[in-house]
């Protein structure tokens, strides 16, 4: 990845950075919705911690996106003043929290991709991206460990916890495929040595999640059909718009205020 070094189109790089930042923004928001409502105090703390890391990463990615775009938008402007069609997060991360099992399964499916993406980005030809990836990967290593343990603990727990985890997996699996599909933006990133080819991350991902599902006594769904439209922004789910009403209301209502 670090061998090539063609200067990418500014627009492609901006898109790529929004994808990274919107994933953490949207997932961070979802996780923060749990605040005060987790099944046990330790989980309240851990979920808040995860959300906190993701919001921090968002600031890094979206500030850099704003710098690349060079149109006077910073991370806050990007986070709070775009409408659904401008969001570039994976459909997976905008899915609702559901029960705790659904939240943790979503986290695990994302973290497993996120960590390998960040690990690859640490070798990016873009030093700023490599630096953000390095910092983030430490946090995400911990997220993945926790999510893995919890998926295994609940998958291989009681009959009810097993059933709920299997339901969560069945529900969320169709959102996994989108992570690994490349488009023109990805190709431009690969050509510039900035980011890995999404498809190249799949084999390791499959190995990891298969091992975890086995330990968790969960059955991986047979179909690998994958919904698309989040990372391209072409067709998000209805959930994102509802999230934005909450996330952006204050900034939309008081556009001139500083906070």
């Amino acid at each position: 990845m670090s061998t090539a070094n063609i200067d990418p189109n500014k627009g492609d790089l901006f898109e790529f950075l929004c994808r990274m930042g919107d994933n953490t923004l949207v997932l961070g928001h979802r996780v923060s919705e749990w605040c005060g409502h987790a099944p046990v105090l330790e989980e309240d703390i851990a979920l808040a911690n995860t959300a906190l890391d993701l919001i921090g990463q968002t600031t890094l990615w979206l500030d850099l996106a704003g710098k690349v775009e060079d149109a006077g938008r910073d991370a806050d402007r990007l986070a709070f003043h775009r409408d659904v069609w401008d969001f570039r997060n994976l459909l997976l991360v905008e899915q609702p929290n559901g029960d705790f099992g659904q939240t943790i399964m979503r986290q695990f499916l994302f973290d497993a991709w996120h960590l390998s993406q960040l690990t690859a980005l640490m070798e990016s030809s873009d030093a700023q991206i490599a630096a953000i990836a390095e910092k983030s990967s430490k946090e995400v290593t911990y997220h993945l460990e926790r999510a893995t343990d919890t998926v295994i603990g609940l998958g291989d727990g009681t009959e009810e916890s097993h059933r709920r985890m299997q339901n969560a997996l069945d529900l969320l699996w169709p959102y996994v495929g989108e992570m690994f599909v490349a488009d023109a933006v990805d190709e431009a990133m690969v050509a510039a040595g900035i980011a890995p080819n999404p498809a190249s991350l799949r084999p390791a991902y499959d190995t990891l999640v298969n091992d975890v599902f086995t330990a968790a006594t969960l059955t991986r769904p047979e179909s690998d059909f994958g919904h698309r439209g989040g990372k391209s922004g072409k067709r998000h789910s209805e959930h994102l718009g509802h999230m934005l009403t909450q996330m952006q209301w204050l900034q939309r209502a008081y556009p001139d205020a500083t906070w």
């Binding site: 605040c35 005060g36 409502h37 906190l52 921090g56 727990g157 009810e160 916890s161 909450q246 906070w259």
Partner: protein, 311 residues
């Protein structure tokens, strides 16, 4: 009782009582009530602020608020641990919270309605909490005193963050200033109530003070709080919602109007604006989470069994 006398003398001499030491039943019970109530307050206290995490105005403010609420959960954890040293489990305390048998601070039965409330809660509510808690770093029960040391450090940080939000709002647009004043109007009285009723009406005061699990009188702390807050409000350019507030040269203190104690007792009875919702939210979290706790315990038991079998 010579044992009790020795116990009291040790306290009088500034000694610390530790979990394994003998202690009077009343001391233990009072401490459990007080520490448990404090822990519950941290837990329920997550809700009014959690209410604005998803609507925070900037990424930085969102992160700060998340960190704060996380700290509160952490404080809950320390305090439950301190209570556990007195022989009561966290689960038991939780059940007593959820059934309404144990209380939490009434302030958390008030709603948070605008972003300025995040400022007011930090400034006034954490401010009042610190006023209560700083002296408790010297309380006679060791684990409690040590928990308080950690907690106070973080709380004063929270209070500064709250004041910082108020500053931004008070120095911001007209709408923001209006929000800030409105928040102060709504939280001033409830904050004054946080010190409890006037000492002559307080049930546990005298004995608790002798045992050094209460260090100052309610009125004394309330006065100190008012004296500290009034200049802070002035600096913000906000007016304290008390027409009779004025500096009393002779006393060297502000004269101020007592909060509405009828309202206080109403809230205590369960008629606060949010009592029902707060308890319902905690009960729902607990009930919905039962399968998670059960699942993780079952898994841990399986792992232990497997390990044993392998040995």
């Amino acid at each position: 009782d010579p044992q009790e006398r020795a116990f009291q003398e040790r306290i009088n001499a500034g000694g610390k009582i530790e979990p394994k030491d003998w202690m009077p039943e009343g001391y233990r019970k009072n401490l459990i009530r007080q520490i448990g109530q404090h822990a519950h307050s941290e837990i329920v206290g997550q809700l009014p602020e959690g209410n604005w995490i998803t609507r925070a105005p900037t990424l930085e403010r969102k992160a700060i608020l998340l960190a704060k609420v996380q700290d509160e959960a952490g404080h809950g954890l320390y305090l439950y641990c301190a209570a556990e040293t007195l022989g009561v489990s966290r689960d038991q305390l939780t059940r007593d919270l959820l059934s309404g048998k144990m209380k939490y601070s009434s302030i958390f039965n008030y709603p948070t309605l605008t972003w300025a409330d995040m400022g007011a809660v930090g400034w006034l509510v954490d401010g009042a909490a610190i006023m209560n808690q700083v002296p408790l770093q010297r309380t006679s029960y060791g684990p409690y005193a040590r928990a308080m040391v950690r907690i106070c450090k973080e709380e004063s940080f929270h209070q500064r963050q709250g004041y910082d939000i108020m500053m931004k709002m008070a120095k911001g647009s007209d709408a923001q200033r209006k929000m800030a004043q409105d928040a102060l109007n709504r939280f001033w009285g409830p904050a004054l109530m946080m010190f409890g009723p006037s000492d002559e009406n307080s049930v546990h005061s005298a004995q608790s003070m002798a045992w050094k699990i209460k260090m100052n009188s309610n009125d004394e702390l309330r006065q100190k709080f008012v004296d500290e807050c009034v200049p802070q409000a002035e600096y913000l350019g906000l007016s304290v919602p008390d027409p009779d507030l004025k500096w009393n040269e002779e006393r060297g203190h502000y004269d101020f109007t007592q909060p509405d104690w009828d309202e206080f007792f109403d809230v205590l009875k369960g008629n606060g604006p949010c009592n029902t919702e707060r308890l319902a939210a905690r009960n729902k979290a607990w009930d919905d989470g039962a399968w998670v706790r059960d699942g993780l315990m079952a898994h841990a038991a399986k792992k232990r069994a497997a390990k044993l079998a392998a040995e």
